[in-house]
Every structure is written in structure tokens, then in C-alpha cells.
């Protein structure tokens, strides 16, 4: 392993995924030269805003050795409840207040996960599977089922704020909303936490080996609790952004996306066993999934093949490293 560190390691996902992305773009550009254009890029970036925040959140949990499938329900709960709350109580609050309320609500829901996981020592998959049903069921039973088409003015304004705006040669518009900056912010903050703070080292340590982390004096419980609260807050943010951009709060949105998000993160090299995962890899994984979703038709594959392609990508993206690891283990034995 050490000897080959200077060479390119073809089985690493951080190498593999960009190669697939480049091959995909080359193919797309070959069959449709207008693919390489700013509108394609802004479409890609816009498609990555919500997915990117989700992926960063899911990655953090995977690094710590857990798995969270409830974040989409947290996001749906938050966006719907916040929109309803602001509409009925305080329609005049500005957009940043809506985001603040959303993140606080998401953090509160995340702390429920945290209490169940840390307080009772329950397996993370089971807890979040349960809370996924609970959050969604609670929202649809007690808060509402009808979509809110008139968002509070703050959220509407946020959805309309554009960083980049332009016109295509054919007269159609392209744009990139400021919400993209939120995703960048999430990436920067998470990078800082993971790589510049003791907390981040603790998260990696817990994922590597819970027992070792405990023995070197890491406060495992506090760290785990922080992770689920932070992930909840990120999910809340993603929810508010999703509904602001869609200009509607549909309680049936988002839930069902959780496994695709985890797939994107794993595609980017994070491991389910914990301790491994990079922001670069995660974002590349997201880019690949969004690219396949948006532009499969461009390379001549009918849109109905989208699921098959994503499924195969996941199998190849996780299969190659797994196969390599198994061969290495067999050689060592």
C-alpha cells in the first residue's frame, strides 16, 4: 500500500468516480456539443444543492460508523412545519429567520435520534428507520397532508435570490440560486469540523474503533450525540432550501431519497464500516448521480434506464474496492 501511494490507485473511488464523470462528459459532448455549456453546469450545480447537503450529513454519520436513514423525513418535517408555522404566526419574518427556525427544528428532531442511539445504545439503522416512520407519520397525521403552495414571503424571496442569471442562445434562461452558497457553506463548516477540530478527529476515531476511541479518553457519547444533532440541523436546512427552490412545501417530497443519498456517499468512497470518508469523494459521488439523473438521455441512453445505470454504478463503485480488498486479504493470508 505504502509503495504504491505515489502511483495512481485505480481502485480508489476518488480516482474511479472522476474518471467515470469525465468519460460520461466526453461521451455527452461527443453526441451533443451543446452539452459543454454553462446551462448544463448550472443545472448540475442546482441539482446538487439539496443532494449535496444530504450527502455531507450522511457521510458524517457513515464516518462515525453509524447509518442514518431518517434525514429525509427530518427535512420534509422541517420544511412543511416551518412553512406552516411562518404562514400562520409570523409571515413577515425574513428568509434567514426561516432557515434558523428550520435548522433549530431539524436539530431538535436529530436530538431524538441522538437520545435513542446514545442514551439507550440502540443500533443506528433501527433507530433511524423507526424515527423515519415516526417523523413522517407524525407530520402527515397531525400537521397536514396538503401541499402548501403559498410559501411564507421569506422563503419565497430566498428561492428567488439568484447568484448567476443568464440567457441561452435559444432564448431560454439559466440561473443558479444563492441556495448554492448554503451548500458551499455546509461543506466548508463540515470540512473545518472534520479536519481542524478535536471533535472531527473524535468522529473518525469512533468510526475506526469505538472501543479504542473510548480508551484514549474520547467522550464517545457526546460526540455521537453531536453528530445526530448536526445532521438534523443540516437536514432541516436542506428541507427549507428544497421547498424554497420548488416554491411549494409538499409533505410527500424528499422521503424515499435516503438510500440514493447514501449510495452517492458510498460511491464517493465512504465505508459502511466507519472511519473512512472524504468530502471530495462524497461530492464527486453526488456529481455523478446528478449527472446520470439529468443527462443520461444526452449520451443516447433512454431515461427509463436511469435506475439500472445508477444501480450498476453503485455495484461497480463498491464492488471494485471490495474485490481488491478481498484479494489483498487473500494474498496476506
Amino acid at each position: 500500500m505504502q509503495l504504491s501511494s505515489l502511483r495512481i490507485d485505480w481502485t480508489r473511488n476518488e480516482t474511479l468516480v472522476p474518471l467515470v464523470i469525465i468519460a460520461f462528459c466526453a461521451l455527452a459532448a461527443f453526441s451533443d456539443p451543446s452539452f459543454l455549456s454553462i446551462p448544463t453546469l448550472t443545472d448540475l450545480l442546482r441539482g446538487s444543492i439539496v443532494l449535496g447537503i444530504f450527502a455531507v450529513a450522511a457521510m458524517l454519520v457513515l464516518i462515525s460508523g453509524g447509518i442514518d436513514v431518517s434525514f429525509t423525513a427530518v427535512a420534509a418535517f422541517t420544511m412543511y412545519s416551518t412553512a406552516m408555522l411562518l404562514n400562520t404566526l409570523a409571515p413577515d419574518l425574513p428568509w434567514y429567520a426561516a432557515i434558523g427556525i428550520g435548522m433549530a427544528m431539524g436539530a431538535a428532531l436529530g436530538s431524538i435520534n441522538g437520545i435513542l442511539i446514545v442514551g439507550f445504545g440502540l443500533p443506528t439503522l433501527i433507530v433511524t428507520l423507526g424515527t423515519l416512520s415516526i417523523f413522517r407519520g407524525f407530520m402527515l397525521t397531525f400537521i397536514g397532508q396538503k401541499q402548501i403552495t403559498t410559501l411564507p414571503p421569506g422563503m419565497r424571496e430566498f428561492g428567488r435570490m439568484m447568484m448567476i442569471r443568464g440567457t441561452n442562445p435559444d432564448g431560454s434562461f439559466y440561473s443558479l440560486p444563492w441556495a448554492f452558497a448554503a451548500t458551499v457553506g455546509v461543506i466548508v463548516v463540515t470540512w473545518f469540523i472534520l479536519h481542524k477540530t478535536m471533535l472531527g478527529r473524535s468522529i473518525f476515531a469512533i468510526g475506526g474503533s469505538l472501543e479504542s476511541a473510548r480508551r484514549i479518553g474520547i467522550n464517545v457519547r457526546a460526540t455521537q450525540f453531536f453528530i445526530y444533532v448536526y445532521v438534523g440541523a443540516l437536514a432541516g436546512l436542506a428541507g427549507i432550501i428544497h421547498s424554497s427552490m420548488a416554491r411549494v412545501a409538499n409533505p410527500f417530497d424528499l422521503v424515499g431519497l435516503e438510500l440514493s443519498v447514501i449510495a452517492a456517499v458510498v460511491l464517493g468512497g465512504a465505508r459502511l464500516t466507519g472511519g473512512h470518508g472524504t468530502l471530495t469523494g462524497t461530492l464527486l459521488g453526488v456529481a455523478l448521480i446528478v449527472l446520470v439523473r439529468n443527462s443520461l438521455v444526452v449520451i443516447g441512453v433512454p431515461a427509463t434506464w436511469q435506475m439500472v445505470v445508477i444501480g450498476l454504478l453503485i455495484l461497480i463503485g463498491t464492488g471494485l474496492p471490495a474485490w481488491q480488498a478481498k484479494r489483498a486479504a487473500a494474498r496476506a493470508a
Binding site: 440502540l122 415516526i134 417523523f135 407519520g137 449510495a263 445508477i310 455495484l315 474485490w323
Partner: protein
């Protein structure tokens, strides 16, 4: 983080039968199931306890209960099969395509032959899909959760490709039998589920293969040293799961009188939920079919009962989630509920 369920066989036997029963997950679950039934019966006796409701429940639950059996089988090895719904729909669509495209509108004896062929094709799809999963997990060494997440997308994806996303319908009458028929007055889906559950229970508790599955889940390395052929056992487990899923697919197709790529999408998490509720350890090594059957019944009593009480459909999800977490807490910390006294942790 992982609190093992309190089923350590090395623990000295509890003094009384009652204490032993109270200590077993299945007994606690049985109590919960009976309580749910009694509660629902008490809240709306004339409707919940009616023959009509009981039979309609017997028609409803087998399709996802069979998926839960498939989930149980894979979870016992410490794996999971997230592709069961994909396999079920793909199998159903293959069967449905044979019935509509090849068999045309034939009825009578001819139709029976075509139906037999379509069932065989569906089971073959389940077998091949399961074999594919088994190879990914056992030979390539992919984590089961990722292998089946990816393959599930591929199977569902093929179902979409074959149908363009629309429903396939128009089957001969024989196709309705396994979903809607009765044998000696008992709904066929219930009979089917009973047979499959009994068969799985027999295989797991009375055969060498069942023992290998449990050993593999409890400790893969120890199982290997005990001369368990890990690769072959894992492949058989996923093939079994695939075939069970395709049977569920045939049932869903028969009940819906159509096949579609996105049927039963809520069944995936439900199947995981039922298996875990039934006491199957998601990390492998422990699980009993009787627990899963009890969990299925508890879920169905709850959702039918709530339906009778005119509670919103969505509150079921809420209550399922609460039930899952509640049972997990009881299993992890029985001391909180005074079922038995535990010596303080060493």
C-alpha cells in the same frame, strides 16, 4: 453501542417457567400481540372482530409477511436484502408479460398451462436475482446492504425498462386464485404464508443448513473454522431470499390484478421493521420465525384496528415507528420495565 439482545444461551436457567418466559423476546412479543388484538377488539368489537375483517386481514398481510421472511433469512447471516421489492416486482412483471403477451386471452386449461409457465418464470427470476446477490456478497465481498441496494435498483430499473413504468394487466382468471381464492374457506395467501413460514422455521431449526446460517451470523470467522462453507451458505441464503421475494411478487400481482415497477415500495422498510420487531438481530446470529410471525400479526392488527377507528392512514406509519423503537428499548433495557432483574453490568 450494540446492545446484544438478552438471549444468551449460557445464562443459567431462570428459576420459574414464568420468569423464563418473561425473559424471552418471543414471549414478550406474544404478550404485545395479544394486547394489541384485545385492545383493538375492545375499542371496536363489532367491526374489528367481525368475520369480514378477520378474513380481509388474512388476505392483506401475507404479501409483506413473505418479504419479511426473506429479510429474516438474510439478516440471520448478518446481512440484509434491500432488493426484495425490486425482485418481487421484476418477477411479477415477467410473469405478467408472459400472460399478456404470449398467452393472449386464452382461458381454461390452456390458461392454466400458461400460468404455470409464468409462475415458473417468476420463480426463476427470483432465483437468478438471488444468485446475483449471493455472488456479490459471498464472492466479491460487497457489504450486503450496498450489494442489495445497488442490485435492487438494477432489478427495479429493469422492471421500468420492460414496462416503461406503466402497469401490465389483463390476466386469465386462474391468476386470481393465489391472491384472492380460498381453500376450505381459508384465504390462499394465508395458506401460502403458513406453508412458507413453517418451511423456513423447519429449515432454520431442524437442518444442518439452518445451523450453518445461524453460526455464520453469530461469528463468520468461527463458522469458517468450524468448516462451514461460508460462500455456498451465503449464496443459498440470498437465493432463498430471492425466491421468497418472487413468491411475494406473484401474490401482489394476483391481488392487484396487475404488475408495476413501483408496487409495494413501502414494503421494504416494513419488511425490515417486522423482522427487527420479531426479534431478529440485525447483526446476525439470532432470529426465530415464530417471532417474525407474531410481529406481522401485531402490525396487521394495529393497522386494521386503526383503520376501523377511522384513524388517518398515515398514523399507521407513526405507530409502527413507535412500536419498533419501544420494542427495541424493551429488548435492550428490560430492567426499565421490570420484566426481570438483571445483575448489574460487570
Amino acid at each position: 453501542m450494540l446492545e446484544k439482545a438478552n438471549d444468551n444461551p449460557l445464562r443459567p436457567a431462570a428459576p420459574s417457567l414464568f420468569a423464563r418466559l418473561a425473559a424471552s423476546q418471543e414471549a414478550r412479543l406474544a404478550v404485545i400481540t395479544v394486547l394489541v388484538f384485545a385492545l383493538m377488539g375492545a375499542l371496536s368489537p363489532e367491526r374489528f372482530l367481525s368475520v369480514q375483517n378477520i378474513t380481509s386481514m388474512a388476505f392483506q398481510f401475507p404479501e409483506f409477511a413473505i418479504l419479511a421472511l426473506a429479510m429474516t433469512l438474510t439478516m440471520l447471516t448478518g446481512g440484509i436484502d434491500l432488493s426484495v421489492v425490486g425482485i418481487a416486482n421484476l418477477s411479477a412483471i415477467i410473469a405478467a408479460t408472459i400472460l399478456t403477451q404470449l398467452a393472449g386471452g386464452t382461458q381454461g386449461a390452456d390458461a392454466l398451462g400458461w400460468y404455470a409457465l409464468s409462475v415458473a418464470a417468476a420463480l426463476a427470476v427470483g432465483l437468478i436475482a438471488g444468485l446475483f446477490n449471493g455472488l456479490l456478497v459471498a464472492v466479491l465481498g460487497l457489504p450486503a446492504i450496498l450489494a442489495t441496494l445497488g442490485s435492487g435498483l438494477v432489478f427495479s430499473g429493469f422492471a421500468v425498462v420492460l414496462t416503461g413504468g406503466s402497469a401490465v394487466m389483463g390476466f386469465p382468471e386462474v391468476a386470481a386464485f393465489i391472491g384472492n381464492g380460498r381453500m376450505l374457506g381459508i384465504p390462499v395467501p394465508l395458506v401460502l404464508f403458513g406453508l412458507l413460514a413453517a418451511a423456513l422455521a423447519f429449515v432454520l431449526s431442524r437442518t444442518a443448513f439452518g445451523l450453518k446460517v445461524q453460526m455464520l451470523g453469530a461469528n463468520p470467522l468461527a463458522a469458517r473454522f468450524a468448516a462451514v462453507d461460508v460462500t455456498a451458505t451465503l449464496i443459498k441464503v440470498y437465493v432463498g431470499s430471492g425466491v421468497l421475494a418472487s413468491i411475494a411478487g406473484l401474490l401482489i400481482m394476483s391481488r392487484a390484478n396487475s404488475a408495476k415497477a413501483d408496487y409495494g415500495s413501502s414494503y421494504l422498510l416494513l419488511a425490515v421493521l417486522i423482522a427487527v420487531l420479531g426479534g431478529v438481530n440485525p447483526y446476525g446470529g439470532y432470529g426465530r420465525v415464530i417471532g417474525v410471525v407474531l410481529a406481522v400479526l401485531a402490525m396487521q392488527f394495529l393497522s386494521s384496528g386503526l383503520n376501523m377507528l377511522q384513524v388517518s392512514n398515515f398514523s399507521r406509519e407513526l405507530i409502527w415507528g413507535v412500536l419498533l423503537i419501544f420494542v427495541m428499548i424493551v429488548n435492550a433495557r428490560p430492567d426499565l420495565f421490570q420484566f426481570k432483574r438483571r445483575p448489574p453490568a460487570a
